[in-house]
Amino acid sequence: MANSITAYDTIAAISTPPGEGGISIVRLSGDEAIQVAQRVFKGKDLANVPTHTINYGHIVDPATQDVVDEVMVSVMRAPKTYTREDVIEINCHGGIVDTNRILQLLLSQGARMAEPGEFTKRAFLNGRIDLTQAESVMDLIRAKTDKAMQVAVDQLDGNLSHLIKNLRQDIFSVLGQEEVNIDYPEYEMDEVTGKMMLEKAQKVRDHLVQLLKTANQGKILREGLATAIIGRPNVGKSSLLNYLLHEDKAIVTDVAGTTRDTLEEYVNVRGVPLKLVDTAGIHHTTDKVEKIGVERSKKALGQADLVLLVLDASAPLQSDDRELLKATQDKKRIILLNKTDLPAALHPENLEALVTDDSRIISVSILKTAGLDALEAAIARLFFGEGIENSQSNVLVTNARQYGLLAQAKAALDEVITALQNEVPLDLVQIDMTTAWEKMGEVVGENAPDELITQLFSQFCLGK
């Protein structure tokens, strides 16, 4: 159904991550979304079903009449849709081959392959969402865990926008007053003093510093905490990996698009998404590749935000262990003394001289799944620390653009503060104050220069 605001052509894409998930969704958006879907659908007449209904049926190749898959098709008519265009979502049975085939059928029937981020771009261009929200949607897509989902959703509600708008108002209150002072010098009005400006600048700056601190957590929620499991051969790395990958913790099995030889796997530990790096290295440790285990471990360290260093508690400390302890001393790490089910030859006390930082040392038996609760708790604590989980709102800075702008705003405020301390005239100080205000405006899309738009959309991933 055509609509005055929707004259874009119809686009299609698989909007669930590729892989062997339970269900995959193929999405269509545009003027002809319903017609295009109808051409490959056998079931109800989609053109006549009520909007926002889910309809059972089959996808049939119109050329061969082959049944491709058994599906549920959601029909959502403009404007109350994600893109404000007519939208069709085909829920199919997930196999990559079938999903791709459905997509191809749709493309053959008049849809165009969506460009990366094009659904969100349309939502944005159709006035459905503002910039922060658009970015949140992007983060939503990438969200790897429920926790991350919550942050992304909070941002859709505009929590970050709200906070930043308030901070901008703070800045504006002195900016505005100073302008009055400049334009009406002969009048007896409250003069903005350096002190007032300094107070505001410091207050906003402090808030920004707090927000920027959350950025790393935001990034982790989105991208996962890069985690390396390391240790010399046969200490239990593989068991730990298997433990983490089982018990419903594995959330995304594959980002690269193939199922074997994966380099990264995602697990969810108490809300913390871990991106396990170089898992192939661990999978292969039973082979002859084992020889290079330690070297490889060291290499994996480079990319890791968190290191799980596994030691064998049933054997005395070896030179390889010492080497790894040393190699990880500057990392955020948790040291696991595994094999507590065997007679102990290595005790936590033995490590005291070697572990001088506050790294957690946890005794576990991965085989008997003993002590693993403590491990999970330690991971959660490491990530959430005091702050996030307990704070009332989940206002996080979750992407690089927001981070960059807020960092620039903070830098501008730093200059304001320095200048005020050097007694630079206020109207000059104000230039940086204004910059801070503008940068924060860009975060919430109130001051978007066109580069922003270009950058923004280049970041979108395919599909929604």
């Binding site: 006035g127 010098p185 230039i431 978007a448």
Partner: protein, 632 residues
């Protein structure tokens, strides 16, 4: 009875109205070699100041210098006729310093009239333009109430507050231009017939009192500056007026406010008589008392109107209360207890042309070769009028010569900021320039107006070769001194350290460049000079430039970055005759605004109120995707 028409002279450019906009417009056109006629209702009111007797102030003072750098007259005229000169905001940074002069009103008028009378190519005439000659969508001249049909290649209208002017004093209301002059009625009607959208604005002026009846002992004296300053580049320090007249400050009080409150029902602003929109930044005293009810007093400035008159302007006491009440109000004020009112304050309603109907050259979009400037475009202030006047005059002359138009950007002049605001955003109240309207005010300083615009004025033929040579000399002197300070090293030593210690600064560890030494907040150029061997005699205006350019280099560079970004957006042109209805997803309000204003660039589109970044994004995407051709 209709007056029979007759064919009068032909001109290149005709300017209607000889206020502050019209005078500049006519002078610019004539100086650019165009046969120009300036026609005005009353020759006794050429460059008349119907309101405050002053020129300049924050932002406005910078405009005066810009007009001067372009070869305009306002700066020279006030320099020749001021009775007080003050530099404002001296406690603040260089970006917002501003010069303001108290004018001798009558002298100001006389000197401007004299200049107009003695300018080659310029004919000054008394008369009332009642209609425009418009053929094929082009303006080809004007018709007067005496029946004269003057043809011209281009026409500039600067009708000011005369357009269907209406004076209101309490319950009294009558048709009038400013200060009881004849209003211009038919011209407004004919503009409407041509399809122009007009609206009503309101402004006002305070009463005048006889200075001999002021008790100055109860007021606070505000004298002028001792240090010479001038608006025009050409004015010499030696000509600085030393016997200046003072202004005097006093206050309203509870008694004044009581009278105002008791008579509000007789105030046209509150009784509903006045329909026009008044300026927020220049409210009447009754407005102030109502809106700021908790303020126990308001400042009042008593300003002399000239040397040959005893009239004093009661500044910040603008009112349209009935005459009787005005008198009572005045008598409550310290120093004015026995003051004799000479003229009552009044409110005036008048027509303005909605300025979004203009392009950046101030030509109307609707009728070619027709330009409008000044208060008629919705501004307030003599300086704002002059700034538009010179641009309209230049463009009318260029049009008459068949040359492309001349515009100034927001990064080039306050005049550019003002015109862009007017044509991009329109205005809902009489528009006054404020420093806060300029995004790049550290670059748009009053001290560098000559550096910004003299070159342009010269190219246009408005700056003569002698002055241009003097300007070049100054420019070279600035460069030479900059180079010198960037080459001389200040060596550490007892004298330097003692000096720094006295200023609370850290001692020098190593020798540093003189320019770096000057960058220290505690060091002035004069301080620096004593540590430089063979210090030459440097002109103080050169010193000022060098000091600002060195001390604030970091801030200036920052603004330059912003300007570069503006230029990138200005470079994104919007195709003419774009159909905004064909672009999906632009919000309705934005669509209407874009259609109405027809911005020329993406940057300008982004400045339209009601067009939000998402709309601009869509527009950019639309243009970039080249869909224009596709949508029919």
């Amino acid at each position: 009875m209709t007056v029979p028409e007759y064919t009068a002279d032909d001109y290149d450019v005709i300017v209607v109205g000889a206020g502050h906009a019209g005078s500049e417009a006519a002078l610019a056109a004539a100086r650019m070699g165009q046969k120009t006629m300036l026609i005005t209702l009353n020759l006794e009111m050429v460059a008349f100041m119907p309101c405050n007797p002053s020129v300049g102030g924050p932002a406005k003072g910078i405009v005066v210098r810009e007009v001067d750098a372009l070869g305009g007259q306002m700066g020279k005229n006030i320099d020749a006729t001021y009775i007080q000169m003050r530099m404002l905001n001296t406690g603040k940074g260089p970006a917002v310093r501003a010069l303001r002069a108290q004018a001798d009103k009558n002298a100001y008028h006389r000197v401007m009239k004299d200049t107009l009378e003695n300018t080659p190519n310029l004919t000054l005439r008394q008369g009332m333009a009642t209609d425009l000659i418009v053929e094929d969508g082009e303006c080809r001249g004007v018709v007067t109430n005496t029946g004269a049909r003057y043809r011209a290649k281009s026409v500039v209208l600067t009708a000011g507050t005369s357009s269907r002017g209406k004076i209101i004093i309490g319950e009294l209301m009558y048709s009038s231009g400013p200060n009881n002059s004849i209003p211009s009625i038919e011209l407004s009607e004919n503009l409407e017939k041509l399809g122009f959208k007009l609206r009503r604005f309101k402004t006002g002026t305070p009463p005048r009192v006889n200075g001999n009846t002021i008790d100055y002992d109860q007021t606070q004296e505000e004298p002028g500056d001792k240090t010479p300053n001038a608006f025009s580049f050409t004015t010499k320090d030696a000509d600085y007026v030393t016997d200046q007249m003072s202004c005097w400050m006093t206050y309203t009080n509870e008694e004044t406010h009581k009278i105002i409150r008791a008579n509000l029902k007789r105030a046209p602003m509150f009784s509903g008589v006045i329909k026009g929109v008044g300026p927020r930044y220049c409210p009447s005293i009754e407005d102030k008392v109502v809106r700021f009810a908790d303020k126990p007093r308001h400042q009042i400035f008593l300003e002399p109107e000239g040397r040959d008159t005893s009239e004093y302007y009661v500044g910040d006491f603008s009112t349209s209360m009935p005459e009787e009440i005005q008198q009572k109000m005045l008598h409550t004020v310290a120093g004015l207890q026995h003051a004799k009112m000479m003229r009552p304050g009044y409110a005036i309603e008048y027509d303005v042309i909605e300025p979004w109907q203009l392009t950046h050259t101030l030509e109307t979009k609707h009728v070619k070769n027709l330009f409008t400037a000044g208060q008629m475009n919705g501004t307030s202030g003599y300086e704002e009028a002059a700034g538009q006047g010179i641009i309209a005059g230049i463009n009318a002359a260029l049009r008459a010569q068949g040359k492309p138009g001349f515009t100034l950007g927001r990064d080039q002049a306050y005049i550019g900021v003002m015109i862009d605001d007017l044509v991009t955003k329109g205005t809902n109240e009489p528009y006054r320039l404020l420093t806060s309207r300029a995004e790049y005010r550290l670059v748009l300083r009053h001290d560098n107006a000559d550096l910004r615009l003299t070159e342009k004025g010269h190219t246009l033929g408005l700056i003569d070769d002698d002055r241009y040579a003097a300007f070049e000399t100054k420019k070279q002197a600035i460069q030479a001194e900059m180079d010198r300070l960037h080459s001389i090293r200040i060596k550490p030593g007892q004298a330097v350290d003692d000096f720094l210690a006295s200023k609370g600064g850290a001692p020098l560890k190593d020798g540093i460049l003189a320019s770096d030494f000057l960058k220290r907040p505690e060091v002035s150029y004069e301080d620096l000079a004593q540590f430089m061997p063979d210090h030459p005699d440097v002109d103080r205006r050169v010193i000022e430039q060098v000091t600002i350019q060195i001390k604030y280099a970091g801030y200036i560079a920052k603004e330059q970055q912003k300007i570069d970004r503006l230029h990138r957006l200005e470079a994104k042109k919007i195709p003419a005759h774009i159909d905004y209805n064909a672009i999906n997803g632009i919000a309705t309000e934005a669509r209407q605004k874009l259609t109405k204003i027809q911005p020329e660039t993406i940057a300008q589109a982004g400045r339209i109120s009601g067009v939000n970044p998402a709309d601009v994004a869509i527009l950019s995407v639309y243009i970039e995707q080249g869909k224009i051709a596709k949508v029919g």
